[in-house]
């Protein structure tokens, strides 16, 4: 998947706390399901499943190395997702600033 737009699948993939933790760990460096499961209170099998979900939405990429897949984060895809979140936050910050200015102008007019 090379979509420029972050779609709903990406957000539902990131929505899971264990998968967010995996992304955090992968930001520190490439890893396998085995090494990742050693740092989390979940089984290697569970980690492998979560990694498959992240791989499907291109947030990580797995490469077969020997008997295991080695995963690395897709920085561009993660950046797109984070950027979109930041855009929504900025939109609300702008709205709240307008609410503040409007309410304060009304308050001043009343005084």
């Amino acid at each position: 998947m090379t979509a420029a737009v972050v779609d709903d699948d990406v957000w539902s993939a990131i929505g899971d706390p264990t998968r967010r933790r995996l992304l955090d760990l992968l930001l520190a460096g490439d890893a396998t399901a085995t090494t990742l499961s050693e740092q989390l209170p979940v089984t290697r099998q569970a980690v492998a499943k979560h990694l498959a979900v992240l791989d499907r939405v291109a947030l990580v990429h797995g490469t077969q190395v020997g008997r295991e897949k080695r995963y690395r984060i897709d920085a561009a895809q993660l950046a797109r997702a984070v950027h979109q979140l930041a855009s929504v936050q900025r939109a609300w910050d702008a709205r709240l600033q307008r609410i503040k200015a409007l309410a304060e102008s009304i308050e001043r007019a009343k005084r």
Binding site: G15, Q89, I99, S105, I106, E107
Partner: protein
């Protein structure tokens, strides 16, 4: 970072009553957010908000009032297709919470529902205001409005 929810907070130097009116009354809401807002400030009331001027490829989305508890809480759902009931999965839930503080109001906004319906919906306003840059568009409107409010009182 919680990616399914957005939380923002701002201190407003105005009483909770005034702030509540600004965040809930459609006459005020269309001055800080959409171009048009049509709904009754009553729990369960449904209506619409419109982004963009009529005839310029505007977008109309549903707006449903969930809770009205002046001057403490105003809760609504938006982004559902107009005429469709607002439920989890087709709309975003916005909660305004107001607390009297330091002679003014602490206004807290929470928006949830992104995990269920994606983030594109929340970018609506931005998409339709791409050609204008924020304050360049809103400030003149706001100043005119503030002056008008001043004359009326």
């Amino acid at each position: 970072m919680e990616l399914g929810t957005i939380e923002r907070e701002v201190f407003v130097d105005a009483t909770p009553d005034v702030v509540f009116d600004v965040v809930s009354n459609p006459e005020h809401v269309r001055r800080w957010w959409p171009d048009e807002a049509h709904y009754d400030v009553r729990a369960g009331a449904t209506g619409t908000i419109v982004f963009g001027k009529p005839g310029t490829g505007e977008t109309t989305v549903g707006f449903t009032v969930v809770e009205v508890a002046p001057p403490h809480r105003f809760v609504f759902r938006w982004t559902q297709p107009p005429g469709e009931p607002a439920v989890e999965g087709n709309s975003l839930l916005v909660t305004f919470e107001l607390t009297a503080a330091r002679g003014g109001t602490l206004l807290r906004m929470t928006e949830t529902g992104f995990r269920e319906m994606g983030w594109e919906a929340a970018l609506l306003e931005q998409q339709y205001n791409d050609h204008v840059s924020g304050w360049n568009f809103y400030l003149p409107r706001l100043e005119a409005y503030a002056a008008q409010v001043g004359t009326l009182r």
